[in-house]
């Protein structure tokens, strides 16, 4: 065996592709550009509601960094007077407090009146979030949404909420600031790859 078997050639090609992608991701702004492209151009116009999608919460009640970012963006949009209602989503983990309620408590601390905050604690997937937000807002006659989530997730979340008969204005929660640190770029690419795979799955399942 001189190492030129078909299996070796396939492994070598996959390995080469992996190394090239790794180096391009770490040492070029590719991940940032892709993220910007997936975010689109945010349209910050007055809408019927601000919907902040769930991120993750620990069983002890600590919001994940991404969950906190989304909440901060939602609070900022409300304080700019872009919508009269702030919808906060997210279930709990392992019997701990729910993400939506922890977020609501923080929003109240920022001076947002309790009657302007709606929470939904049961939806566990983006698809479920769209269904439950529709049920929550339908009776209020809301039609236009400012949808807050990270840029990669918007590509999947936006069509789901459009299917739920909303006019959606996507607002990325990511700080759209280019990082020179290879580790940050790789982390950003990881999120994007995950979201692209999620988008493909939703397409194949016919959800979007």
């Amino acid at each position: 065996m001189d190492g030129t078997g078909r299996g070796d050639r396939v492994c070598r090609a996959i390995g080469l592709a992996g190394v090239v992608l790794f180096l391009i991701t770490a040492f070029s702004p590719l991940a940032y550009r892709l993220n910007q492209w997936m975010a689109g151009s945010p349209r910050l116009v007055a809408s019927d509601a601000i919907v902040v999608l769930g991120g993750w919460i620990s069983p002890s009640g600590t919001l994940s960094l991404e969950s906190q970012r989304r909440l901060d963006r939602g609070i900022e949009l409300y304080q700019r007077g872009l919508a009269p209602v702030l919808v906060l989503l997210g279930p709990g983990a392992d019997g701990g407090p729910t993400e939506a309620e922890v977020r609501a408590a923080q929003a109240r601390l920022h001076g947002i009146p309790a009657d302007a905050i709606l929470t939904e604690t049961r939806a566990r997937t983006t698809r479920e979030e769209a269904v439950r937000v529709k049920a929550l807002l339908q009776s209020r006659g809301a039609r236009t949404l400012l949808l807050v989530t990270n840029a990669g997730h918007l590509a999947r979340a936006r069509p789901l909420f459009e299917h739920a008969a909303f006019e959606v204005r996507g607002v990325p929660s990511d700080p759209l600031v280019e990082s020179d640190a290879p580790e940050s770029r790789i982390a950003q690419m990881r999120v994007l790859v995950k979201e692209v795979l999620g988008w493909l799955y939703y397409r194949m399942a016919g959800y979007i």
Binding site: C11, G15, L16
Partner: protein
């Protein structure tokens, strides 16, 4: 700046390793290309294991959701530990293939 520093330092240590290999250890420079090819094969095998592991974990989560009707989180498929585990699996598998190829060489005359 950080990326440039890291790339430059990695370049310097690679050149240093080449000189240590070629001068101090007497390794043949002509075999470096073949060695890089072997390295790519090993990385390819690691990536194949990674793809199989992630695909299997996603399919198991989806099957569990479908069969039990309850929500099963897909976070298990999104854990960085898969990269380390796939590294161990892929390198072990490549070493196994390599040792099998070596042991079969004399019998082929």
């Amino acid at each position: 700046m950080e990326a440039t520093f890291i790339a430059a330092l990695a370049g310097l240590t690679s050149i240093g390793a080449y000189y240590v290999g070629a001068r101090a250890l007497g390794l043949p420079s002509a075999r470096l290309g073949a060695a890089v090819g072997k390295m790519l094969e090993s990385i390819g095998m690691v990536l194949i294991f990674l793809a199989v592991n992630l695909t299997a974990s996603v399919l198991i989560v989806l099957a569990a959701r479908g069969l039990t009707g309850t929500f099963v989180s897909a976070y298990a498929a999104d854990d960085a530990v898969w990269l380390g585990l796939s590294l161990i699996q892929g390198l072990a598998f490549q070493a196994w293939r390599g040792s099998a190829a070596e042991s079969s060489e004399p019998s082929r005359g």
